[in-house]
């Protein structure tokens, strides 16, 4: 399950005890889900699975449209401009929380033009290294980085991506000097990590698992607050004593800012119901991905917390996005 800091939950619990929403009519026609990424990546796949399930449960058509470009800005801006009638929705990732700090100017305002609906899928990242690298575990990697400052390379899927954030946070939490090597996309970075051209990388379990199982790469740590069910033997960074280290790769649904609250709740509940179906849970579970999330209010608080956390790291490290 998705977890937040307990303090946050308590604060948010008050908000959630509101009167039960009168079921708003939704959807009354074709719903377009805009995905600001290229087709075939994990967000797109998640969106398509959700769309298919919603189509089955509501009997209306759900269309997934890929509007990639400009670090998700193009697709996000389109939803920000859409009619707030619940028929144009956005499924995007952590870029939603990092873009406000990464760019001086965005074609939308996350405070007013868009509003969170709910979490779709989330997973921790896993720190991997080629099997022949001399770091048996996370502590070994940190020791190496400390005795060889400015030598250890860590790949990412590009500047301003979540794997870059995780790299920056790793350097910060462990007090090491890492060399960040950005790639154009996570799969190119994963390839060079697999072949050992770069030392390490925070990767998604879904793409790392087959290589871990084949013994080609080694999992050193997971980035969540808790261990991953898919990798039960791999410790979290926090439990190794490097403070409050948490990086979650999340993909969530957002709606145009003026959307009616009742309508938002209806959409949230329908989406969560679709995600709770056993076949969906199983489908994502084996890749180390959690489907579904908390209440809309809790999730809204989570997005705010993420925006704050990554904003600070981006500003402190002077990170620019691709």
């Amino acid at each position: 399950m998705f977890r937040l800091h307990t303090a946050l939950c308590a604060a948010v619990a008050v908000l959630t005890i509101s009167q039960p929403a009168i079921a708003a009519e939704w959807p009354t026609g074709t719903v377009t889900i805009i995905v600001p990424y290229t087709p075939g990546n994990i967000t797109d796949i998640a969106a398509r699975i959700v769309a298919q399930k919603l189509q089955e449960s509501t009997g209306q058509s759900f269309i997934v449209e890929n509007k990639p470009g400009a670090s998700t800005q193009i697709g996000t801006a389109e939803v920000a401009r859409a009619k707030p009638d619940g028929h144009t929705l956005l499924i995007t990732g952590a870029g939603y929380a990092t873009n406000p700090a990464l760019f001086d100017e965005l074609p939308y305002d996350t405070d007013t033009d868009l509003t969170p609906v709910g979490l779709v899928v989330s997973n921790p990242l896993v720190l991997v290294t080629a099997a022949d690298k001399p770091f048996p575990d996370f502590v070994g990697l940190v020791d190496y980085a400390k005795s060889n400052p400015g030598q250890l390379t860590m790949a990412s899927g590009g500047n301003g991506t979540l794997s870059h954030m995780a790299e920056a946070l790793t350097a910060l939490a462990t007090g090491t000097d890492l060399i960040h090597v950005p790639y154009k996309g996570g799969s190119a970075a994963a390839t060079d990590t697999l072949s050992g051209h770069v030392d390490s990388m925070w990767d998604n379990p879904s793409s790392a698992m087959p290589q871990i199982e084949a013994g080609r790469i080694r999992a050193l740590a997971v980035s969540g607050a808790y261990r991953s069910d898919a990798l039960p033997d791999v410790p979290t960074v926090s439990e190794l004593g490097y403070g409050n280290f948490e990086v979650v790769n999340w993909f969530a649904m957002f709606a145009p800012g003026e959307t009616d609250v009742e309508l938002l709740d209806t959409i949230h509940d329908q989406v969560q119901a679709a995600l709770e179906q056993p076949d969906v849970q199983e489908r994502f579970g084996k890749d180390g991905v959690t489907a579904g999330g908390p209440s809309r209010a809790e999730f809204t608080a989570f997005v705010a917390a993420e925006t704050e956390k990554w904003g600070q790291i981006i500003r402190e490290n002077g990170i620019h996005a691709d």
Binding site: T38, P39, G40, N41, I42, D44, I45, R48, I49, A51, Q52, V64, N66, K67, G69, A70, Q73, I74, L102, P107, G150, Q151, T153, G158, N159, G160, I179, V181, P182, Y183, K184, G185, S187, A188, A190, T191, D192, L194, S195, H197, V198, S206, S207, M209, P210, Q211, E213, A214, R216, R283, D287, I319, H320, A321, D322
Partner: protein
């Protein structure tokens, strides 16, 4: 024999009626989108991904693979007929293929392309069946340093592509390099030369530059030149003559070898292979003067190379789960939708899928040949259409293609702008192919050089201490010398003549 049992299993899978049907649908769609300018296999596969939800994994993969290599066939058709390369790998085909078409040998050029592709596809499929696991590992040997050196070699080859002045070729390559720099810098994320325009934030699409400088530039130049309007000419024959076959046999074999090797490498290997093949053929040919004026070797070699490369590009994906280009990444996406996580275990856990896809590639290539040969007559008649119908139609298709990339009108304006660039280049006697090559290779070279330096803490010696990288750089220097020597001599001769 293990391999025979495996191929038999593959034949059983690929030979089932449903899979044959999906294979046909795939190659047919692929050919169609390859012919349409702008609409590439990436977009098509993306649109069709949701449909694969309901199919079995083998059906889905066989169809998507068919679209991919089918598009390589179709892309050469427009490159030859109307000088519109739809894919980076058909840029080279446009050089001599289009000249053949202008001489009334469009039918021969098209059938040469189809036959070379088929032969190359057959050989490459056999290579995959025999050596896929070993070759997959080769892909991993290529790190940033090796890529930089390989791309340097490619850039030198860009100079060979030109048949006019070396200085002009050099100049157009540089312009191409500069155009390629537009967009975000990979290392720092800083925007370069975008002038704050949102439509340029991700750089300029290859398709727009290619359609603009090749297709539109050609159309405008033709309109301005009365004699150039005879696109069709007299069409003598459809199939290559005996002499043609003799001239294309060796280029096909060399092209297949180059394509099979380079196709394995992630990141545009198939495209580099077609450039490399052209360079090799031009250097080895007994008729080097014909290159750029309709040499059949200039069609046969590169076409064989790009199709072989398109097949072997599947090797890293199937054996390691490593995508070698954006289309392979999409196909991985399709596998994930099916609940199969591509990785080293696919070959062992899903033998029917693995071998089924491989055998289907060969069946698909056969289908393409059967599908395309009879179509040639039709295609050739198409360029007989009067230019006042044909040109506007091409323009409209190009505009639709440009718009469909990002659903953005800005891209259509950019297309028009590159049409002007293409026209100006032609008026200045500069060829568009080196520009396009600089445009494609420049950013990749920069990215890999900087990454190689970064990984090695700024130490450039890594380019020479790694054996593969060093060998490639030596080859690049050797090629450069080979290119420069005759032209220095020639320019001196010209200088003497002028005196």
């Amino acid at each position: 024999m293990d391999i025979l049992a495996n191929l038999l299993l593959g034949l059983q899978t690929a030979g089932s009626l449903t899979n044959l049907l999906y294979c046909f649908v795939g190659v047919f769609l692929g050919t169609a989108i390859g012919v349409l300018p702008g609409l590439g296999p990436t977009a098509t596969i993306a649109i069709l991904l949701p449909i694969t939800f309901t199919m079995g994994p083998e059906n889905a993969l066989i169809m998507l693979a068919g679209i991919y290599y089918g598009a390589q066939y179709g892309g050469s058709t427009t490159a030859i007929l109307v000088n519109l390369p739809g894919e980076p790998s058909s840029v080279v085909t446009a050089i001599d293929g289009y000249q053949m078409a202008r001489k009334g040998r469009a039918g021969v050029a098209l059938s040469t392309a189809a036959i070379s592709s088929f032969v190359a596809g057959t050989i490459a499929t056999m290579l995959i069946a025999l050596f896929a696991p070993i070759l997959g590992e080769v892909a991993l040997k290529f790190g940033p340093a090796e890529y930089f050196s390989l791309l340097s070699l490619g850039l030198v080859a860009a100079l060979v592509l030109a048949h006019g002045s070396l200085l002009q070729a050099f100049g157009t390559v540089i312009v191409g390099l500069l155009l390629g720099l537009i967009g975000p810098d990979v290392n720092s994320g800083v925007q370069r030369f975008t002038f704050g325009i949102t439509g340029m934030q991700d750089g300029i699409s290859f398709v727009i530059v290619a359609m603009g400088v090749f297709g539109l530039g050609e159309i405008v130049a033709n309109l301005g030149d009365e004699s150039g309007r005879s696109l069709s000419g007299t069409i003598s024959r459809m199939l290559p003559s005996r002499a043609d076959f003799q001239r294309m046999a060796a280029p096909i074999v060399r092209g297949t070898a180059l394509g099979s090797l380079l196709g394995i490498l992630p990141g545009g290997g198939a495209m580099l292979a077609s450039f490399a093949s052209y360079t090799v053929e031009k250097k080895l040919s007994k008729f080097p003067d014909e290159f750029g004026k309709g040499a059949i070797e200039g069609v046969a070699g590169p076409e064989a190379a790009n199709n072989a490369g398109a097949q072997t590009a599947f090797i890293p994906m199937l054996t390691l789960g490593v995508p070698s280009n954006s289309i392979m990444a999409l196909i991985i996406g399709a596998m994930i939708i099916q609940g199969i996580q591509p990785g080293p275990s696919v070959m062992i856990e899903q033998p029917a899928l693995f071998w089924g896809v491989i055998v289907s590639m060969w069946i698909g290539n056969l289908m393409l040949l059967v599908l395309n040969l009879p179509m040639i007559g039709l295609w050739v008649r198409m360029i007989g259409i009067p230019y006042h119908f044909l040109f506007p139609a091409i323009l409209v298709f190009c505009a639709i293609g440009a718009f469909s990339l990002n659903n953005s009108t800005f891209d259509v304006f950019l297309l028009a702008l590159f049409g002007v660039v293409g026209y100006v280049l032609r008026k200045l006697d500069c060829e568009p192919a080196p520009l396009l090559l600089g445009f494609i290779l420049g950013p990749m070279m920069e990215e890999n050089l900087r990454r190689a330096l970064m990984i090695n803490r700024g130490d450039a010696s890594v380019l020479f201490t790694r054996p593969i990288s060093c060998a490639l750089l030596i080859a690049a220097v050797a090629l450069l010398v080979m290119v420069l020597l005759p032209s220095i001599r020639a320019s001196r001769e010209v200088a003497f003549q002028e005196e």
